[in-house]
Amino acid sequence: MIRLQQVTKRYDAFTAVHECSLHVRQGELLVLLGASGSGKSTTLKMINRLIEPTAGTIEIDGTDTQSVNPSTLRREIGYVFQEVGLFPHLSVEDNIGITPSLLGWDRARIRARVNDMLDMVELDPDGMRSRRPNELSGGQKQRVGVARALAAQPNVVLLDEPFGALDPLTRDALQQTFQKVRRESGMTAIFVTHDMVEALLLGDRIGVMQQGRLVQLGPPEELLERPVNPYVAALMDTPRRQAKALSDLSDA
């Protein structure tokens, strides 16, 4: 369970996130949706303290994140980066096993865990284990990125536009893989995206951010049916029109 109360991030005169309050239930996937610069990534990074909030409190399972050492905190939270950020000098195995090794797991346990993770993200362990990141395709890289985020069995996983740079087919495949993995493990997740369709498909609830403020938070149906302002309405209109165009085509 993640709870944000009145969380604010200011850079000099610019306010990136303004008094954001929300809470994410155990096992839930919350999507933060918004245009670039709306503050959604900043909000996400404040949760594992990659960015320190200016004001407000963030609790995970009742513990204030400010009371925990940042690197300890981050080892307990999975994080999938927009740019993937695999370590180019390490093999796939060492990339996935990085957080477990920081936590001091023994070799055999790390090895077994890496195999499980490769299976889970649908990569062949024997073929992939010793490859370097520059020998992987974009989709394979992001699968490894997801595996790395989940390797230390975190209770919470944060995803920052993880599939944004992938081609539509790969993205679709990865979305499905991710949903399967998450449901099996029962993790709590926050997923940042600017893609409305992705938000509607994945999110248990969706929070819409606009110029640093959380303007609406609710299940997909609520956003589609009762948008609180014209911006949310416009956002929801796009997937609706796409769906209509598709159904018209298949009817014809």
Partner: protein, 522 residues
Amino acid sequence: MHELLARLPDYLGGHLRLSLSALIVGVAISVPLGVLATRRRALESPLLAIAGVIQTVPALAMLAVMVPALAMLALPSIGFLPAFLGLTLYSILPILRNTVVGIRGVDRAITEAARGVGMTPWDRLRRVDFPLALPVIVAGIRTATVWTVGMATLSTPVGAPSLGNYIFSGLQTRNYPAVAVGCVAAAVLALSLDGLVRMLEQGVKAERRWLTAGATTALLVLAVWSGAGLAYGSNFGGAPIKIGAKTFTEQYILAEIIGQKIRAESDREAQVLSSLGSTVVFDALKNGAVDVYVGYTGTIYANVMKRDPQHVDRKVLVQEIDHWMQQNHGIRCLGAIGFENTYALAVRRDFAKRYRLHTISDLARVPPNTRFGADYEFFVRPEWRTLKASYDLGSLEERIMDPGLMYQALDGGDVDLITAYSTDGRIEAFDGALLRDDRSVLPNYDAILLVGPQLFWDAPEAVDALRSLLGSIDARQMRHLNLRVDVDGRSPASVAAEFLANQAKIEPSGPPKPSPSGSSGQ
């Protein structure tokens, strides 16, 4: 050639010892400093600026400055330490800069990922920043390696034996094979060390154990071998008596004569530190890094004592110097060796004919911008100021050059006028005219033996051996000895041995001549 190569282990060992220790300490200082600069942003610019300023100091000046600086701190100021410190300072910039650039150059997405997976700053440095920056850092180390090995040849004038000894003495004594041996050996050493560092990097990067192990072993063997030389040298039956020699042939020969004399007549070992700068050698004598050297009265009187040596009786000069040295530095002037080595001005015969030159006063007839070649010191010495003022020589165009090359430059017409030394062997072989100092403005330059305070306590028998050299070499003899080296291409050591053997024949058991005044040279 055989004689040249016999010295190779010594010079190469000294060179390697200097370069390796300077590099190792340079890496040990610069890499952590570079890491610090990337962690504390405010430090980056000042650190790089300081390293940059150090780099702009000319290498030779840097090494020379170490001598008085160390002397001020009462540390050994001649030999290994000043050269080592200078080279270490020099190696900092490339390594520091590449460390900073390498670590800064790590992709931001990767450093953020490193934080994101839960690395502490130390984990990040060890597991991500450092391995990714390594190729750039190693490139910096390799640059520093080549620079340091090259620059170590300049450590000869501060008394650290290196391959530079071949080059410095070779240039002075016109022994070009020696220069070539020094240059080639230094280049081969630079390339070999560079290759080893590269092998080490590749071994680490590709996790090829045998390559890493091979390169490490090779570097260790080199370090131990060069270090062993140091230990062996320093444990050899008490410290050797150190004889300083300035940067010209006559000084090499005299230092060899002194060394061989001490070895023969006392039970002490003697070591010649050759090619020391003129001020370096006096500083070295003051602080005990050198025990004895041959100075010249005019130089000491004007440059060290800062007095005007003109028209002072030469015997009085020697006594005054002894008195002043004893009072101020505890140094003794044992007396004159017998010859005088004064500055003279030399011109080509055709040039002398054209302008009817016999004396320095006649130079009033040469056109302005006549090219005047002189050694490194001459144009800043008081003698030149005096000459210029007395003979109105301000319109000459000053050209500084190595004394070993001056006659060649004069012959080839690159200059029209040079400084010559009255004991230079090449004067005899040279077809030209010497201009008389008709207004007697140049002081006397009697060669004298200067002995540091310790030697009187530590090795009185060596001081006795030195006394027997007083009054034993006149100008004609000195010119002849110089000629044997400069023109005949003999080594200073063999010429010195021959001289001592001849002397022993003339006076088989002759008593030492304790005359403190010396005989007239010319």
